[in-house]
Symmetry: C2
Subunit: 218 residues, 2 copies
């Protein structure tokens, strides 16, 4: 669960390696370019030079032992397809691929990639939104230890009001909204609103507090 194989050390793959390592994850970094492998050696758990389109090499480094693989081997669709197919054949549960274009996105989805990233499209959309709505600061600017989660209303909360439950004080969580079963949500709910089993709580708070709440209310 905290073991990752990252294949392809371009800007994207490198950023993934660096961030995963900063978060203390175990990372095996792979690239066919030995210079790139060398420059990341000290940062990750291990780094190996090999051609990931060669199934034998991938198997030799234990590629199949990872739950999650992140693949970004550049514009060559054939290379991306081969690497994805090898990883799935070796039993990797979650194969994430960076696609070089919307067309590649389609193809990679069809051959079994579990998640496809289009950095340019994502970045373009985000930039446009932030230019039109500067008031909505990118939430990813909120500090790293803050999380957002949605919870079914726990049995113990049925028919109680938000005010009487005193959630902020008891759980260090902030309810920012209530979702109904259709997915519509209300951010302007009254503190006197009584919670029901068909609702979900939209919650913000410290990630530790969120985890604690999840454990407790199971």
């Amino acid at each position: 669960a905290d073991k990752f194989i990252v294949i392809g050390l371009g800007e994207f793959g490198l950023a993934v390696c660096n961030k995963l390592s900063d978060l203390n994850m175990e990372v095996l970094a792979i690239d066919k370019d030995s210079e790139k492998v060398q420059s990341i050696q000290t940062k990750v758990t291990s780094a190996v030079t090999l051609d990931a389109t060669d199934e034998v090499s991938l198997k030799a480094v234990g590629g199949g032992n990872f739950d999650t693989a992140i693949v970004s081997v550049g514009d060559d669709l054939e290379a991306s397809v081969l690497v994805v197919l090898h990883l799935k054949k070796l039993g990797v549960k979650c194969v994430i691929v960076k696609a070089a274009s919307s067309l590649q996105d389609k193809v990679l989805g069809m051959i079994g990639a579990d998640k496809i990233i289009l950095p340019e499209v994502d970045a373009g959309r985000r930039l446009a939104s932030s230019l039109v709505n500067p008031i909505s600061i990118d939430f990813s600017e909120l500090p790293q230890d803050i999380g957002y989660a949605e919870f079914r209303v726990p049995k113990a909360f049925y028919n109680k009001t938000i005010a009487e439950l005193d959630i902020r004080r008891k759980y260090s969580l902030n309810i920012i909204g209530i979702k109904n079963e259709k997915g519509a949500f209300d951010l302007a709910f009254s503190p006197e609103h009584k919670l029901s089993d068909s609702e979900h709580l939209m919650v913000i708070g410290n990630k530790t507090s969120i985890k604690k709440f999840q454990e407790k209310e199971k």
Copy 2:
């Protein structure tokens, strides 16, 4: 303020054009490749085929009349540099550039770009964070009409407690935290906390509610 010039219609530029147009912004789309210009013609306000490294052409289409330019002309650093310099010379206030690498990032910053985007680095970091902390849903998944903002404590609020101010009911805003003058913030503040003039309110709510509050508390 809602007039944009987008130069370069690769995946990034295209995504910017599409999103800005969806948000009803005025968009002039530019590319040297007439096929790309044609395919976006019906989506944007206007689309023109020209070489943006040619200052005369840029001036001819009124490049200087835009407040914001978004430039993504590919891997050729020289082309990016030329386009940025021309736009600044024509008087464009905000020139945003997509850089092809961390090295380009440095150079473009030094020659006057106001904001530089590195989609692969951003995407790699975000992916890594979401893999380690699946519990923290990407806030940009919160619906488009929700915003986050920070406000100085209005004079009328000095020395009052959050509880007595009843901000959620009066302003449809949710205070998720309080920032002090050093930038440190507290998400677990007590409702009995008295607000002071050295603090900032960290607020989430409907964007309309945020705007109203901004107007009112000036």
